[in-house]
């Protein structure tokens, strides 16, 4: 019966591959929540599924946990097909978004719950529960009830509960969303450290790109039930595959134009938004005259009062807004063409008295290796 659900997932040959999802589809009634997702996660890696709400990332996670039946496609964990295995028989544990701690049980009983289902001996349960609670530094709270703990403490208990069974795969559903912003970043680093220490393969779902970039070894960007790009945070940030990814991971200044010069070592792109062509010092595989999009990250834009030399890669404009963020300042600059660009200038580069202010005339410029050419 399982075979009728072809295509059969095949081992890719990557010796480190631990989780393989192939052509996974989930349809609810007449809504397609997940349309053909394939991905591969390596052993002991933290993999993040990043997307805005309704993109299908939570449905994908719920299929990995076994709470939703896949409409078609296969999930392989450590070489074993778990697509049709019920959640209580999967070597997969999940840390829920709201933690889902049992309110009528103590912290220790919450952590012990999973082991009790396995019929582990009492003495061993006790040892493993305290081992897990020690790991998250919650052993002294073992007799408390969940509602007597702070949000951060509840999260640690939830983590201990999901790790105590030593799952092959740990799922994290928006792990930080229930925490205050102040403690989020500290917790992200702490959580990564614990997961590293335990050595467990993780798939995390989040809508927060900073969280994904802080914690994940690799990430996949999802929209409309599909993965549009995956790679390390750095790869995805530096080489976004589409305007959507460029705008979703970090912010981007986007220009639309046509290729006017295409040489192996450079291209020139003319855009209505810019007074002179964009010069990019790497080739593209697109034909002349083709409409393309160019993304330039705000921190790649240089803001200065003097007119840059050369005939490429600069534009004149007026400062329309400045946001001082401490480590850097965000400039909104309205170019002569009417297009507004965003530039992030490090505080160190801004001298106290000469920093451009509101309505000042400035020149923005960028290096030829800064733009990324996108075709979609």
């Amino acid at each position: 019966m399982a075979d009728s659900r072809a295509p059969v997932a095949q081992y890719s040959g990557d010796p480190d591959e631990f989780v393989r999802v192939s052509d996974l589809v989930k349809i609810f009634g007449d809504t397609v929540a997940v349309r053909s997702v394939s991905l591969s996660v390596r052993r002991n890696e933290l993999f993040a599924l990043l997307g805005s709400s309704g993109c299908g990332k939570s449905t994908l996670l719920r299929m990995l946990a076994g709470f939703e039946q896949a409409t078609s496609g296969r999930i392989l964990l450590d070489g074993e097909d778990i697509t049709d295995v019920p959640p209580y028989r999967r070597p997969v544990n999940m840390m829920f978004q709201s933690y889902a701690l049992f309110p009528h049980m103590s912290v220790a009983a919450n952590v012990a719950f999973g082991l009790r289902q396995e019929g582990v001996a009492r003495a061993e349960i006790h040892d493993r529960v305290f081992e897990a609670l020690d790991l998250v530094q919650m052993a002294q709270y073992s007799r408390r009830r969940p509602h007597q703990l702070s949000g951060g403490q509840q999260q640690r208990v939830a983590l201990a509960r999901s790790l105590v069974k030593r799952p092959k795969l740990l799922l994290l559903d928006e792990p930080m969303s229930a925490l205050d912003k102040q403690i989020r970043q500290k917790t992200q680093i702490e959580l990564s450290r614990i997961l590293d220490q335990v050595g467990v393969t993780c798939i995390m779902v989040t809508h927060d790109q900073e969280e994904a970039m802080t914690m994940a070894d690799r990430l996949a960007v999802m929209t409309e039930g599909q993965i549009v790009q995956h790679g390390t945070p750095r790869e995805v940030y530096d080489f976004p595959a589409s305007r959507f990814v460029a705008g979703f991971i970090g912010s981007a200044n986007l220009f639309t134009g046509t290729i006017v010069v295409d040489e192996p070592d450079h291209v020139a792109i003319e855009s209505e938004d810019l007074p002179r062509p964009l010069f990019v010092n790497h080739g593209v595989s697109e034909p002349l005259g083709r409409e393309v999009h160019v993304s330039i990250r705000p921190e790649r834009l240089h803001v200065g009062r003097g007119q840059p030399a050369g005939e490429h890669n600069w534009a004149r404009g007026l400062v329309s807004h400045v946001a001082w963020l401490g480590s850097h300042a965000l400039y909104q600059i309205r170019l002569d063409s009417g297009k507004t660009v965003e530039a992030s200038v490090p505080s160190l580069a801004l001298s106290q008295d000469d920093a451009p202010g509101m309505d000042d005339e400035v020149y923005v410029s960028w290096r030829p290796d800064s733009p990324t050419v996108l075709v979609s």
């Binding site: 709470f67 829920f96 009528h104 709270y141 509602h147 007597q148 999901s162």
Partner: protein
Amino acid sequence: MKAVRARLPAPRLLAVAPPYAWLALVLLVPFLLVVKISFSDLQFGVPPYTPLAELQDEALSLTLHLRGYALLLTDSLYAATYVNSLKMAAVTTLCCVLAGYPIAYYIARSAPSVRGLLLLGVILPFWTSLLLRVYAWVGILRNDGLLNNLLMGLGLIDSPLEIYRTDLAVYIGMVYAYLPFFILPLYATLAKLDLRLLEAAYDLGARPWRAFLHVTLPLSRPGVVAGAMLVFIPAVGEFVIPEMLGGANTLMMGRVMWNEFFTNADWPMAASITVVMVLFLLVPLALFHRAQARQIAQQQEARP
């Protein structure tokens, strides 16, 4: 400013005063009157009982008659009635728990679109008077009633089942009448239950029935307790159903009270039966209240 506010009654007190005043007026005062009557003796006239205090020849005499209570203790009929009433209420409650839990669970888990309809089905009987509905049961359970005619027509039985005017008929009637009181509070508890807790249980390796046993059941306990109390307390004093469906030997407090009041016109006796019954009811009520209060206190315990 603070000192002035401290001398004024707290706003909370103002808010809770009216309901307490109302309860005192309609519950406490009548009950005290009943207590007073229970310590008087029978006499002919209006009212049909002796006054408690009498001023005669400049002497105030206070007479406490204990005839009612003495009779309660000496006549085994009354003790048997109390025990039987408690037993019948307990069995009714148990049946309501066993039948009502699956119904409440099913309604709480059904799609929101049909949930309203199912709940309406539970409440629908209330649109007809209880008296009519019990009469309908008379029609169903009688020897020549609907049930017996149907079973005999199908050839399942040869002679009619003797249900009408037995304890069984009373149980059927009481479970029927009180089931909604058990289902509604339990439904409210089950509907509030966070389904992610069940998913967490499955995720941690619990099969569905173990998840039910260790998560759903303990978390629905407040609903079960509340529903069981709502069934048990009125069932102990039930009058209409045992009177209409029960046999002559179906002993229940409600019937005995009725007899004392209206057949024997023995108000003091009826009043002492009532006082003892209320005490029998107040004990479980108080226990229930304490359990609830403890639970709420546990949930609201200060954070560390």
